[in-house]
Amino acid sequence: MSCEHADRPRLGSKAAFPGRLGFFGRMRVVLASMWRKASGRYSLIVLAVWILVSLVSRFWTPVPIWTTDGYRIWRAPSRDHLLGTDGTGADILSWLMAGSATNLAISFLAVILSGVLGLLLVMAMVSHRSGVSQTVVVLVDALISLPTVLLALILAVPLGPSIAVVVVACGFGYGLNLARIVRPQALLAAESDYVQSARHSGVGSFRIFCTHLVPNVIPVLCVQLSMSAGTSVLAEAGLTYLGVGVPAGLPSWGHSLTTSVKFINVFPLTVLWPGLVVTMVVVALNLFGDALRDAIDPVANPRLRAAVAAAGRSALRSEEYQEASAQLDDSDHHVDNAIHAGEGGNDVAEY
């Protein structure tokens, strides 16, 4: 063989397999790729501010949220109250800050729930047992017609208005949606030649699902889950307005909207602020999904592919490989030529 690597130095035992960029290395490349686009930058900034404000609001708000002043209600923005005060004289900015933590928790939990539920359903839908898969497909189609609001109203009967109602109603509804949207992609992967090869090699169904199917539906997953996060913010506002969402004592953006929306004709500013926050966050979440899809998918992001290749090369070149790199460079040219000869015209004469 013209390109034998017989004298390759050996990788240390149990060495990480080259081409496995660590989680943090991968995240750095993904975030950098997202940052390069204006939409990605906007979404990252808004989400970072959201998370930061949620954390800060646990310890500090400009005015303690339970401080009310009966003589200063419906005030316009001022130095003391940057966004003004609401009908009880409470500071609107402080309530919005405190509410961001509630909404963050709701979105996060709804995304987790819908992601887990959706993937479990997809796992059943691509099952080889046609009895299982067909039953689940029909079940999802039937349940998906149940409106989220109706589900929340039903749940509120035993639970009363609570975060759990919003999370479960959203997570359930979006999980079903997710399963329906992801299924064709997952089926495509499940019937692909690479899955057939893996199965022939004796790789188990669960491992195939986790290592082949899930990575190949991640683009759809990114978009759907971030949209679910955005929709859950809107749903929280709607359900709280209906009285089955976040309970009265708990700050949330829906709560801020609900308490002031009745007076929108008189004091439009008090509705404008929470409305603005909700809109900005929902837009950011939708943009985040698109940006994440483009950045996290190695097929779509050449920078990620390049980073993986570089990490692999440096793993190969590290330690024991160091002194041999010059020699490897030599053989690189050698192999290049061999590949070229193999694919190009030289050998054609043989046949």
């Binding site: 390109c3 080259p18 692909s192 004796g202 097929v299 592919r305 192999v335 694919e343």
Partner: protein, 282 residues
Amino acid sequence: MRLTDDAPADPILTGKGLTKVYASTGSGMARKAAVDGIDVSLLPGECLAIIGESGSGKTTLSRLLLGQLRPDAGQVAYEGRPVLHGSQAAKALARDSALVFQNPFASLDPRWTIGRSVAEPLLAARRRGSGHLWHRRQDGTGLADQVAKVLSAVQLDPDRLMTAYPSDLSGGQAQRAAIARALIVKPRILLADEPMSAVDVSARVGILHTLQSIMAQSRQQADPSNGMSMIIISHDLGVVQHIADRVMVLVRGKVVEEGPVNAILNHPKQSYTRQLLAAATL
């Protein structure tokens, strides 16, 4: 021709009266067998070519032979043991055989690096060997070395391609990576289903070359009767004449001609085979 008369080896894989009828072929038409009562045998170290036009049942036959499809009639035997669904022989056959598909980009996970794809069967074999179903940290001992070795054997540069993704490869390179993936577990039977049809003409020669060198290497082993056998499927007789020992011509699910490659090439008995020869591209 390496199949010497002095050592008539037992076939490694045999099929007797293999028949497969798909459930839903055509509307209202009488159901026709995709594979209709075919007898095959594959000797150790032999390269058998299955030739026939599209839809003649080549893929179906090969899947039956590797135990991936259940025959409606007939039986496959691996090393003399009948291959029944879930039997030990079926497991052994799956373990000892590997597949190369027509479209290399469909047979490599687009979101896996080449190195990871190539290593997958080896890791699966190791897991099987160790009896653990799920290793969080898989034993990577010498993995990169083995992947590099097998990539070199198919004339790919391991340092550059191990961490590349399929989308960075040409069709010819991707197909060779797929061959490397099949070879890494040192299969006793390699099934290549139209491995050259989906890549451009200039890359076909390279792939043929690779397959030839693999066969040549396995034949140079100490015990040639233990060498790798290959089933190569093609609709093009010209492609396989350089590599096959024996050729089997399929027409509509039936074998119309079978024999050593030279005999078939020089004295085709069937007019159909003559047409195939005339249409040869390489």
